[in-house]
Symmetry: C2
Subunit: 290 residues, 2 copies
C-alpha cells in the first residue's frame, strides 16, 4: 500500500516541505481562546480504528509549542487515558512555569460523546526549550543501531500484510524494518524484545522535533517479536528530544528488557542521518494476553 505512496514520493521532483505536508496539515491546531485549541484527529493516522499515539502526541506537542514561550519539546510525558477516535478534539493547555531556558506546560486532549459528555483522552506534562541554544558538546557513548542499508530492509509491500485490517497510517509512513526483526510477520518471531528500522514520512517531509514525537511510537511493538499478537496499548510514554534532526531518513531502535506481570516497557532511540542521537523515549504498555 504505502509502496505506492513511496513510489509516488520518489517520482516527485519535490518532497513535501516542513510546514506544508500532510503531517503538518493533520497536526494543525486552531486557537479558540487563550490556551485552548481546536483540532481534528485525522483518520489518516489510524491503526485499525485506533488513532496512533505518536500522532496524538505530536498534536499535543504542537499546541504546547504555541502556548509556551519556548518552541521545542525537550521532554514530554504523556499518560494515555482512553482511546481517541478520528474527529474533532479540543486541547486545553496551561503554562505551569516560564524560565529563561526552559518552560513547562500541561495539555489535555478531550473529545465529546454524542450526548455532549466530555471524555479526556490524554494528559501531558512537558518541558520545552530552544534546541538551537544548546551547547555543541557531544559525549555520547551510544552508537547508532546496526541496521542494514534501507534497500535491504522490508516495507509492507515486501511481504504478507503485517497488520490485519485497515491501517491508514501505513500509507503515510515509510518504514523499512530490519529483516532481523520481522520474523513475527511470517510466524517466526525471534523471541528477542527488539524492533529496528528506517523511518520517514511517505511524502518525503524531513524530520523536525515535532515529527520525532510521532517517530518514537510508529514501529510495530516489540511484543510481536516476543511472540505475542494483539493490541499493546500505551499507558505512559515519555520522550526526550535531544537534538534538532538533520534532513533525511531516521533510524529507530526499540528494545524491551522486561515483560512481566502483563506489562512491558519499550525504549526507543532515534538517530538522524548525521549519526546524532536525536530522541530517546520509554513507554509502559500493557502486554497482549498470551
Amino acid at each position: 500500500m504505502y509502496g505506492t505512496a513511496m513510489a509516488q514520493a520518489q517520482a516527485q521532483p519535490t518532497r513535501a516541505a516542513v510546514g506544508d505536508s500532510e503531517f503538518d496539515r493533520d497536526t494543525a491546531v486552531t486557537r479558540r481562546e487563550p490556551g485552548v485549541y481546536d483540532a481534528e484527529l485525522s483518520a489518516g493516522w489510524t491503526i485499525i480504528s485506533a488513532v496512533n499515539g505518536g500522532y496524538l502526541l505530536a498534536l499535543l506537542g504542537r499546541a504546547l509549542g504555541e502556548a509556551l514561550p519556548h518552541s521545542d519539546p525537550f521532554t514530554v510525558s504523556a499518560h494515555y487515558l482512553t482511546a481517541s477516535r478520528p474527529g474533532p478534539a479540543v486541547i486545553r493547555t496551561e503554562v505551569v512555569r516560564t524560565g529563561r531556558t526552559l518552560s513547562t506546560g500541561q495539555a489535555s486532549l478531550v473529545q465529546f460523546e454524542d450526548d455532549g459528555t466530555e471524555v479526556e483522552r490524554i494528559r501531558v506534562l512537558a518541558t520545552y526549550g530552544d534546541l538551537d541554544g544548546l551547547t555543541p558538546e557531544v559525549r555520547t557513548s551510544a552508537a547508532p543501531p546496526a541496521i542494514p542499508p534501507i534497500e535491504q530492509c522490508l516495507g509492507p509491500g515486501d511481504g504478507p500484510a503485517p497488520i490485519p485490517g485497515s491501517s491508514a497510517i501505513t500509507d503515510r509512513l515509510d518504514i523499512r524494518l530490519d529483516p532481523a526483526t520481522v520474523g513475527w510477520a511470517v510466524g517466526a518471531p525471534s523471541g528477542r524484545g527488539e524492533m529496528r528500522g528506517w523511518f520517514g514520512l511517505a511524502d518525503g517531509r524531513d524530520p523536525d522535533p515535532l515529527s520525532l514525537l510521532l517517530t518514537v511510537d510508529a514501529l510495530p511493538p516489540t511484543s510481536f517479536e516476543l511472540g505475542l499478537t494483539g493490541w499493546t496499548p500505551t499507558v505512559e510514554l515519555t520522550t526526550h528530544v535531544r537534538c534538532r534532526p538533520a534532513p533525511g531518513p531516521l533510524r529507530v531502535s526499540i528494545t524491551t528488557r522486561n515483560l512481566a506481570g502483563g506489562f512491558l516497557e519499550e525504549d526507543a532511540e532515534v538517530w538522524d542521518s548525521a549519526d546524532r542521537l536525536v530522541a530517546q523515549s520509554r513507554q509502559l504498555a500493557r502486554a497482549p494476553r498470551p
Copy 2:
C-alpha cells in the same frame, strides 16, 4: 557518618518496620481538605541545601496513593520546576481518570515565600494500580547488574567524604557503591556513564513501592564518573514500578548513554533480593558545566 547509623541499625535486634520508620514519618501527609495535603519537607533528606528529588517524589507518590482508588504507583512522571527547601509544603491532587485496573492522577507540590507568594516546586502525572493483581508471568531478558558482594562495596565511611558540604541524607541511606564506579571520589573517574551499588535505608526498613521512588534518584549522578563535578539538577524523572519488592537490600544500576548539548539522561534499574527487576526510571538532567 552513616557508617555509624549502619552500625546502630545492625546492633539493633529489630529493624524499622514499613509504616513505622523515619522514611514513613518524613513522607507523612495530612489531609487538609479533599485532595489537598499538608506536608513537612524534612531537612533530613537534603544534599547540601537541596531536598532530594527522590524523597520529594515519594511524598507526592504518597499523597496520590491516598487520593486515588488504587494504591501502588505504576508509572510516575515528575517535572521539577524550582528547588524545594526544608519546611512546610502543600500537595494538591486531582483525580484525572478512574478505571478498573488503573487510575490516573495529578499532583503539585507548592511552597510559600515569606511574603506568602506561592511557588510550585514539582508537578507530577501518575498512573496507579494494584501490584498484587498482576499476572505472575515474567519474561525478562534483563539480568541483574554485576555488583560485587555488599561487603566489598564502598560507603561514605570507607574513604574521603565523597560529597562536600553537609549531606544529611547520607545518614538515612545505606548506599554501598561498586568500587568500579567510585573513581570520581579519588579524582580518577572512569569516563563511563555508569553508577552501581547496593541500596537500603539506614534504619533497616524494607523497600516498598513508595520507597522505590526514593531509590531511583539516590545514587551519585553518573556525570561524576564522566568527569564532571557539580550540580546535576533533574528536569524530568519518570519511574515505572514493575513489581512489589521483596524484603532485603536492593541493587541499583544507573547508566547514561547520551551526554550532549548540556543535558544527559540517567536510566536506573532497581533489582530486589529475589532477583526481580522491581523498578525502571529515566531522568533528563542538566549536565554540570565542564
